[in-house]
């Protein structure tokens, strides 16, 4: 009995170890917002079927994604912070970069802010509504800081109504929902969590340049990552192709379009 149990344990361990190193896959490191949206689950099977290339997706924040790229742990990055992306390219870590889709940021919260503009919305929150900032140097956090600054606020002087969570979009939205707070979120994450959370759209304006959220694909330089053969290039060409961009535009959650194709 004991021996049988032990051998079972050994077999299980071996199975786990062996499945871990089966075949070379294309490593795509992406942001949590993209992972949460379910878009990749929808479109990646198309890619895998067409080219016979297996992929694995690692979801972290944009900052960590770029860092993994620098450490040579990714073939492809899907990220959304233009200035950080530019820095990554300037430092020579990326071979190719292209913006391929976008959506928008919105303010989520317990009540609709009856206001005419983003400026008024921020003003109303600043009067003392509970606000959760990502506080994690993510793309969304950077945008939120920029919005406050654009409308003349000094974040350093904010009182205890302004709370920095240092966590991802999902956890931060969650925190806002359970404690009746407001937060800036990308639309994809909001839509993917809306059903489970007691939180709604407090302010939105899909046409505002201020709130636009463009996503880019980066192919990590072969000198950093090592040669992945044609796989990474194939993926880069595929995701920026008109057919794929159209596929992305057709992706819906609860009947809502999550990402719009980027037109140069």
């Amino acid at each position: 009995m004991k021996r049988r149990f032990l051998s079972l344990l050994v077999v299980l361990t071996l199975a786990i170890v062996l499945t871990g190193c089966r075949g070379e896959r294309l490593t795509i490191v992406t942001t949590t917002s993209l992972e949460n949206s379910g878009l990749l689950e929808e479109i990646l099977p198309h890619f895998e079927a067409e080219y016979g290339i297996r992929t694995r997706v690692v979801a972290v924040g944009t900052g960590a994604a770029l860092e993994m790229g620098r450490l040579g742990q990714a073939d492809i990055l899907l990220v959304h912070d233009e200035s950080l992306e530019q820095k990554f390219m300037d430092e020579g870590y990326g071979a190719l970069r292209k913006t391929f889709m976008y959506n928008d940021f919105l303010l989520a919260g317990p009540e609709v802010l009856a206001v005419a503009s983003l400026e008024e919305a921020l003003g109303k929150i600043h009067e003392g509504l509970l606000f959760y900032s990502r506080g994690d140097d993510s793309a969304t956090h950077a945008r939120e800081r920029r919005l406050w600054e654009t409308y003349g606020y000094e974040i350093d002087g904010f009182g205890s109504w302004y709370k920095e969570t240092g966590q991802g979009m999902g956890p931060t939205l969650n925190m806002a929902a359970v404690s009746a707070g407001y937060t800036l979120t990308d639309r994809a994450t909001y839509l993917s969590m809306r059903e489970n959370l007691d939180i709604g759209i407090a302010y939105e304006n899909p046409d505002a340049m201020d709130l636009m959220n463009p996503y880019s694909v980066i192919k990590v330089s072969a000198a950093i990552r090592g040669d992945s053969g044609e796989k990474a290039s194939t993926f880069y060409a595929w995701i920026t192709s008109p057919a794929t961009v159209e596929l992305i535009g057709r992706f819906r959650v609860d009947g809502e379009q999550l990402f719009k194709p980027w037109e140069d």
């Binding site: 960590a64 994604a65 994690d136 709370k163 969570t165 240092g166 956890p171 404690s179």
Partner: protein, 227 residues
């Protein structure tokens, strides 16, 4: 990377950045108080289970040992659900009190269970000897606590180690809010997710250093343990 982390750790410590010290102090305060608070009922329960002869003892022990392994994140979830549900009037969501509560509950079965595991036989033997020698009830209790001391000490050390090291519970119920509920482990998790591995490993080093210093300062008092 690790070498750079150690350098960063040194820089963090000598920079006398109040935020860093606040994080370290909060970690210590919450985990220490949770361990000590759980120590009293935990030790009592552990001794009662050890020496008790009652129906269903096997089941109680099984449950106790099971709860020793509750994942911190599950305990955090339970406390969070309590805080947004029945305990709503107390405004516990994302507070230090909630963090204390979660760690208290997490550590309680570890303290009680480890006492049972380590000293059940010793306790039963002591009790039998005391009874044959005709000791009175109160004498028995004092004797039992005195003889179980090293095991109590060990159980508290185990509990504290668990509390100071866990991230799941404090992240969920505390929310890692800057200047309010950020502790060492959530700071490490946050910086890692931000790609700042150097700062993370630095704080990890500080955490280990603190644990070492705690053991070092305890060692003169418990030679039976460290000698």
């Amino acid at each position: 990377m690790i070498w750079e982390g150690l350098k960063t750790a040194f820089e963090l410590l000598v920079s006398f950045d109040w935020e860093i010290y606040q994080i370290i102090l909060l970690s210590l305060a919450i985990s220490l108080s949770a361990t000590l608070a759980a120590g009293v009922p935990g030790v009592l329960f552990g001794i009662l289970v050890s020496i008790g002869r009652f129906k269903g003892k096997r089941l109680v022990k099984l449950l106790l040992f099971t709860f020793m392994g509750v994942p911190p994140v599950v305990m955090g979830l339970v406390v969070l659900l309590l805080a947004v549900g029945p305990l709503r009037p107390f405004n516990l969501v994302f507070t230090r009190t909630a963090m204390f509560l979660a760690q208290f509950l997490l550590v309680l079965p570890i303290i009680a269970g480890s006492i049972v595991i380590s000293s059940e036989r010793t306790q039963v033997r002591i009790l039998e000897t005391a009874t044959t020698l005709g000791a009175r009830r109160r004498q028995k209790v004092t004797l039992l606590i005195k003889e179980t001391k090293p095991f109590i000490f060990m159980s508290l050390i185990l509990g504290f180690s668990r509390a100071i090291a866990e991230v799941g519970a404090v992240m969920l119920v505390g929310g890692n809010i800057k200047g309010e509920t950020r502790v060492m482990t959530t700071f490490i998790a946050m910086n890692t997710s931000m790609g700042q591995f150097g700062t993370s490993i630095a704080m990890g080093g500080i955490l280990l250093l603190l644990a070492f210093l705690i053991h070092l300062s305890l060692s003169p008092f418990r030679r039976d343990f460290y000698g």
